[in-house]
Amino acid sequence: MRTSTVTFCVLLLVFSTAGTRSQTPDAQAKFRLAQGFEQSGEFDRALELYRELITREPQNYVFFDGVHRMAMQLKRYDEAIAVIKARLEGLPTDIPLHAMLGTAYYRAGREQEAMEIWDRTITLDPGNVQTYRVVASVLIENRLLDRAADVYRKGRTRSDDPSLFSMELAQLLAATMDYAGATGEYLRWLQQNPAQLGFVQNRMAAFSWKKDGRSAAIATVRTSLDSRPDDLRLYELLGWLYLEGKEFPQAFDIYRQIDQLSRANGVAILGFADRVFRERAYDVAASAYQEALRYQLPSQRLPQARYGAACAAKELQVSVDSSRGLTRPGGRPTSESTTRYAGPLAAFAAIAEEYPRTEYAAKSLYQMAMIQLRQYYDLDQVKQLLEKVLAEPAATPSLHTDVRLRMGEIAVARADTLHAAEAFAAVAATPSATPDQSDEARLHLAELAFFNGRINDAMAMLDSISMNPRHDFANDALSLHVLLEENAALAPGALALYGKAEYLARQRKNSEAIALFQDLVTRFPRVPLVEDALQRVGSLYTDAGMFAEAVVTYDRLLTELREQCRMSDRTLFRKAEVLQFGLQRLPDATAAYERLLVEFPSSVLATEARQRIRVLRGEAL
């Protein structure tokens, strides 16, 4: 095939240049003039000259091509047909000429004759692959894409090569949106070239991103699997298609097969589990990790699998909790009787025990500490676990820094200001700390100063925080800064009391904190801080699940103390939230959101309130 192609090209070159070389000077001049007319769009005049030239030298291909081209351009198809036929008398088996003739008939509207000519063209040399290529390309030029595909198929049938024209057909079928056909051709190619899976995926990506393209491809691959149930490449392709469409349960089924066929002993499933964990499909990830663990994984993969399984189980529980709508960072602690996190805790504990002095042990211990801190608030347990993390030689520097921050947090919760300040100061001074970690440490130091009544120190520390809006703690730092700045001069006594109450809240001594906030309201009824205090009381009640009390507190702000409040829109919004998510009084929640829109149409919370109303109405957003 290659030899005949080369031969064809050489012959074409020889004949084209031969035509030029044999021209007389007069002919050359006419030829150039004809080219000039053609380029300037004067096709009639160009045609006339080309006609003269070919009359003199009928065998000259260049002149013939000129006449043909101009006749087609001017839609003088009869003339084009005539000149092609004249040339065919001397070259009766010239495939491209026959194909060209077909085009002339087709453009002249004589479609039936065109088809017959093209069919006859193939019969001239049916054993030559190039014949089919030439005819197919002419059909494509004439936008007869389906017929072009038929010609390719005919050529394949005639040859012994089952993958002949696979790529051409695949591209043609994909362009005509026959995705099933295109996939079939790519599978054919893959069968002959099993190492080319990546190449095939790359090509199929042109339509696998589309739902209908992907569905057609999946159906085709599945059909192929019926006849080749042990073809690993097909499973890999199918798994990839499902992952492209984020159909994780279906993909999981396929990766089971892949693991079995490749005798991977769970490694393929483990890889899949890691992939879907990153995609945040925690339910599927958890199942996949568990399944991987049922295999005889290589020993170095085992801790990875176990750690992944524990993390997936934990994340699954966290996502269930946060879907309830009222959770806040550090929200109300889970009661000891709740066993939601018992499974992940046990899993992490087992990893730490069975794989000491590894990165997984350190990370597992840290995960346990975080569960204990955020969900159970067992400070003793947290401290012990964090100390174990520090003792782990494989713990990374970043993990060390995080541990110190949590140690500081525990110290705050235990009213151990001194050790808390030491921990945070150490982090703030650590060169390897990330900007986020440094900002968190500085924020906590500022808070400590505030809790202890050192307002100026607190504000100085807040100034040193980067206030980079991309950092997690920038907003908290900004809020604290505003609180201190607004009230330091105006109501220092109230501010100090506020700091003490907030300190109690950090220690989860909510009842005492609430009492102190309310004491602030009683002792300093006219200061702006009253609003902040009562809002804080409302949020503490909410965290404690005392929703009715929270609503009463917010109502007090909205009625009795309305005159001195500046953030009534926020109060109203929080009340609506508690009604919606806490008390499930949806009509009342809607009314509260609507009231916000009536009374505070320019509030920054108005957009969110509108969306909540729409959700409550059942409207799709």
Binding site: L74, R143, L145, P601, R614
Partner: protein, 487 residues
């Protein structure tokens, strides 16, 4: 508007003091007084009857007098009611928080069979609706600013707007128009400014394409929108830049398949039939709005009915060498005497478009503006409606077709906005048969140069867009009928 459309408006121009009155009063003060007079005569007849029943004349007069006082009392109540109907005013000046959703509110109100008054040239083309808590809540939920007016305030407002020396007027909108958007199925690598506006304003619309046009489904709608379409069959003339792009290839194949399925050998022939279908829809009373390349390609396709202007890469054969001389400009809606762009690799259709698409890079967004013309609200309500805005000078924006060359626009067409100091018109309107058409150049009013593959504009960030308001003016316009002009 469909041939069987019911009258969509009760004209109120010329009726004085037309506060909203109960239907039995005839809907306005004059007819209310006539009704009172009629009642009085009925009462008088009742008094006479009473007389004939044996009562003394004096007793009859006394009874009639009592009735008369009752009648007067009722008239007072009735006319007092004229001032008692409060209204919601949706201002459309700079006070408005969300102009685009305000159109949505007006449309939504119409779908609830509540009338809306469009106050032309009053505070940017404000809307006035009977006070209704449901409408007020909906305004709040959608973030549309409004003001509550008492009955007397509303009456004063009407009086002010309808004063002879004010270039303002009131147009009553009664029925929400049925909206259709012509758009091919599947992915488009560019967004459509009109569907963006409709989606943001929450105005319902249907999509249709060639098949539906050929089946005559256009007549089920009042208003048809065309955006970045190419009715010449040259696939947007993206060949030079995107011939190998998968979306371009698929688009071409899809159109060819559709043409074959509908019995056409070429896409260009199918599109010519489609534009004739749209033409007939407009001629029979339909409203057409076109933006960007849909404007000039529509007219070019009409003019090229008897010739082939597409080169071989578009329809498989070369164009007619005499195509230019075979154009019939009398078939066009808006343009005439234009010269086709014959180069198939140039991103341009003709010389209608200004500036030419290959010179767009030289445009400076900082100095690109266009100015809306001012019209008489009382004598030219249609162009007035179409140009309602809170600003007169708008930022320019580019498109495959940006502005229209002025001297290629037919004299019968009304120019609505132009680029001052240049020979370029941005926005125009005209009549065809019993219907009308509006052409608006440019692609996206809030994206100066929107390129293929760019993400769509988020209208929540442009809720006061003057450019998008012009699109939405065209949505409400079919709900209003042109009023009798004073002679």
């Amino acid at each position: 508007m469909s041939m069987n459309a019911q009258p969509l408006i009760r004209p109120i121009h010329g009726e004085r003091g037309n506060a909203h009155l109960p239907a039995w009063c005839g809907g306005n003060l004059e007819s209310g007084r006539e009704e009172c007079m009629r009642l009085r005569s009925i009462m008088s007849s009742a008094a006479q009857l009473h007389n004939r029943m044996g009562k003394t004349v004096a007793e009859g007069v006394q009874a009639a007098g009592g009735y008369l006082w009752l009648l007067i009392f009722l008239c007072i109540i009735t006319t007092a009611g004229a001032f008692g109907q409060s209204k919601l005013l949706i201002p459309m000046d700079l006070q408005q928080t969300d102009h685009l959703k305000a159109y949505g509110i007006a449309y939504w109100t119409l779908t609830k069979n509540i009338e809306v008054d469009w106050l032309l040239n009053y505070r940017g083309g404000s809307f006035l609706i009977d006070a209704n808590p449901v409408v007020a809540t909906e305004c709040r939920v959608r973030g549309v600013g409004f003001e509550e007016l008492s009955g007397s305030q509303a009456s004063q407002l009407y009086a002010e707007v309808q004063r002879e020396d004010n270039n303002m007027d009131v147009v009553r909108l009664e029925k929400a128009p049925k909206v259709a958007v012509y758009v091919p199925p599947g992915f488009q690598p560019w967004d459509d400014a009109v569907t963006l506006a409709l989606e943001y304003a929450e105005i319902k619309y249907d999509k249709l394409w060639d098949k539906e046009v050929l089946e005559g489904k256009l007549y089920e709608y009042d208003w048809l929108h065309l955006h970045h379409e190419d009715f010449t069959g040259q696939y947007g003339k993206f060949y030079a830049s995107f011939a190998g792009a998968s979306w371009y290839i698929e688009q071409q194949v899809m159109q060819e398949k559709e043409a074959t399925r509908l019995g056409f050998k070429k896409v260009s022939e199918l599109k010519k039939t489609v534009v004739r279908g749209i033409r007939d829809f407009v001629a029979n009373g339909g409203f057409l709005f076109a933006m960007c390349s849909a404007t000039d390609t529509y007219d070019i396709a009409l003019a090229a009915e008897a010739t082939d202007i597409c080169d071989v890469m578009y329809d498989g054969d070369p164009p007619d060498p005499d195509a230019q001389s075979r154009l019939d400009f009398s078939k066009c809606f808006a343009f005439t005497d234009f010269t086709l762009e014959r180069n198939p690799l140039r991103y341009e259709y003709s010389d209608i478009d200004q500036p030419p698409s290959d010179l767009l890079a030289m445009q400076n967004p900082e100095t690109d503006y266009f100015t809306l013309f001012e019209f008489s609200a009382k004598f030219d309500p249609v162009p007035t409606m179409l140009t309602q805005n809170h600003v007169n000078v708008l930022k320019g924006f580019l498109g495959q077709t940006t502005n229209f060359k002025k001297n290629l626009i037919k004299k019968s067409v009304v120019l609505l906005a132009e680029r001052e100091g240049m020979d370029q018109v941005r926005y125009l309107h005209g009549n065809y048969g019993r219907g009308t058409f509006t052409f608006y150049g440019g692609h996206d009013p809030e994206d100066y140069q929107h390129a293929v593959g760019d993400p769509p504009t988020d209208l929540a960030l442009h809720k006061n867009s003057p450019g998008y308001r012009l699109i939405l003016n065209n949505i409400l316009f079919p709900a209003a009928k042109k009023k009798q002009q004073k002679t």
